[in-house]
Amino acid sequence: MRLFLIVTLNGLTLAALYFLAASGFSLIFGLMRTVNMAHGALLLLGGYVGYDVVELTGSWMLGIACGGLAAALAGAAVQAGILGWMQGDELRQTLASIAISIVLADLMLWYWGGITYQVSLPDILSGGQKLPLLGVGYANIRLALMAFAVVVGVMLWFLIQRTRFGAVIRAGVDDQDMLRALGFPIGRIFIAVFALGSALAGMAGVIAASALSISPGTDLQFLLSSLVVVIVGGMGSIGGAALGALLVGLAEQYGLAYAPTYGVVFTFGIMVLILAVRPQGLMGRSEQ
């Protein structure tokens, strides 16, 4: 029972991290139909920058903000400079973003080296908490991570459902041509949404560097998990990203704990099953 609780908590932690990474990925896809294969590289970039800022200033919050900002700037540059002018050609965008991720990953390896980084935590977040009711101890940072994911999820929901900017995004998802015809600067909206999605990735990177650790390879790990999460949950849906992240995170941790050899295959099994029943993902809308 104790093991089960700990594994469940670990699964939820992982799910929270996956949600942070996948929500940005899904947001970008939902509006622009762009599969941003450089998402993992942007996440790692955010993580590295966040680490440097925390080391320099000692402020964890500033580290998160700067990590998000760095990824947002890089993401905006990618959309404005490269992906933006092949809009509509999805395959070409995918290939270009793969090229960008290869170059970015290599340059980051050059600058930050192949070492593993872990962000040092502020005092309130280090140490653990004896959880009431459940009776198990758990690390503060992981609890904070779950809370952070919930807050980000609610804020995203609010932004998309309740604000004018969100209304523009939703309109763009439904009918891009009409939005353009109404005189909205679609190019700039795309850049803004790309920056927003990348900022989410960057913040996720700093948090991953705090709760776990980051090193070369983290980019691919999160890119792949984001892919699986959005395939399971449905592309372009924030709710789907949350649901997919929960399923994948929990499956991965239960798999690790109860069937250690084939934990990964577990996740994959879920994906195949969902593809067989609902190719557009659990909460995704059908393409046609």
């Binding site: 599969v35 290939l95 090229a99 290869i102 170059v103 050059w110 792949l224 395939i231 593809l275």
Partner: protein
């Protein structure tokens, strides 16, 4: 006529090149080209970019390793005339299975699903020791000896790869013209109309993937003889991306593009050390890929074809004007 022009210098290569150029450049490019061909076949005729082709090649390679002589003591030794068909059978079956999983997915969805399958296979080979020998994989694999010569001999392996590549190219062009191949292209262009005609969409998609499994399997067998080892790294993300880069650089619109891309890739891979720092190869190849995608989305094959067409047009024109001059 045209094929002869291409074939003659290729057949003459072993008599001109030294072992380094023959094995490290020519043979390697051919083997990579065959695997990339299986990708560009799917891209051209089914309109699906598959990231699982290295997985299919790997399945064939692992079969050869498992049923052949190796130095890790895993597997059962079988004669090569059993293990080679078995390897191809497995890669075709795996291709059909992947096609069935991805049967309803198009475009980017297909990319994501095949990528996830490829990476899952990579993790699986790392975890499984009974068949795949885990992390370390197989080493000391020797190619079969036929009539006294090892197939790993530089010129023998070169001719074998060349023949396989030629057969693969011929098969692809035959397949594209066969009824099933036409059905595949119809599925690419208008799946709903194909369904309206009463042709099930699943069969052509599964067949296309199975056929790509055959080609990838051929490449995988040659590759395992060439490398003399196979491990989880041979089916990891690195090779997956390499084959994609090759296919894209060469051009996804024409089967021969794969070989063009493979030559460029192998030359860059071998001589990048003279251009830039060895460690920055990924930056170089990433930039090359980016430039190709931005400037020539149909790859080098299209660039070459355009250049040839332009030259012909010019020749034609100058010939015409010359004639006009003589007339007056």
């Amino acid at each position: 006529m045209k094929a002869g022009f291409l074939a003659l210098p290729l057949i003459a290569l072993p008599f001109v090149l030294n072992d380094f150029w023959l094995t490290q450049i020519a043979t390697r490019a051919l083997i990579l080209g065959i695997t990339a061909l299986s990708l560009s076949f799917l891209a051209t005729y089914l309109g699906v970019v598959s990231f699982a082709q290295i997985t299919l090649a790997g399945i064939a390679g692992y079969t050869i390793a498992y049923f052949g002589p190796n130095t890790v003591g895993v597997g059962i030794k079988l004669p090569f005339w059993v293990s080679i068909p078995a390897a191809l059978l497995f890669s075709v079956t795996a291709g059909a299975l992947i096609g069935y999983i991805a049967r309803r997915s198009r475009g980017i969805y297909a990319i994501m699903i095949t990528l996830a399958i490829g990476v899952a296979f990579f993790y699986f080979t790392r975890q499984n020791y009974a068949v795949f020998n885990g992390w370390t994989g197989f080493s000391g694999i020797t190619a079969p000896v036929v009539a006294g010569t090892s197939l790993r001999d530089p010129s023998t392996l070169y001719f074998l790869s060349l023949a396989t590549a030629a057969i693969a190219v011929v098969l692809v062009s035959l397949f594209a013209r066969a009824p099933l191949g036409l059905a595949i292209q119809a599925v690419r262009d208008a799946p709903s109309r194909v369904m309206a005609l009463g042709i099930p969409v699943t069969t052509p998609v599964v067949a296309a993937f199975a056929f790509s499994g055959l080609i990838a399997g051929g490449g995988g067998i040659l590759n395992v003889w060439y490398q003399e080892r196979i491990s989880s790294f041979s089916v990891g993300l690195g090779p997956i991306i390499d084959v994609l880069i090759i296919a894209v650089i060469g051009g996804l619109r024409h089967p021969l593009g794969a070989f063009l891309g493979a030559i460029v890739f192998v030359l860059l891979d071998t001589f990048a050390v003279d251009l830039i720092d060895r460690d920055r190869f990924n930056t170089l190849i990433g930039m090359v890929l980016l430039i190709i995608v931005m400037v020539a989305p149909n790859g080098l094959q299209q660039l070459a074809a355009d250049a040839v067409a332009k030259l012909r047009a010019k020749e034609h024109q100058s010939g015409k004007s010359a004639r006009i001059k003589t007339n007056t």
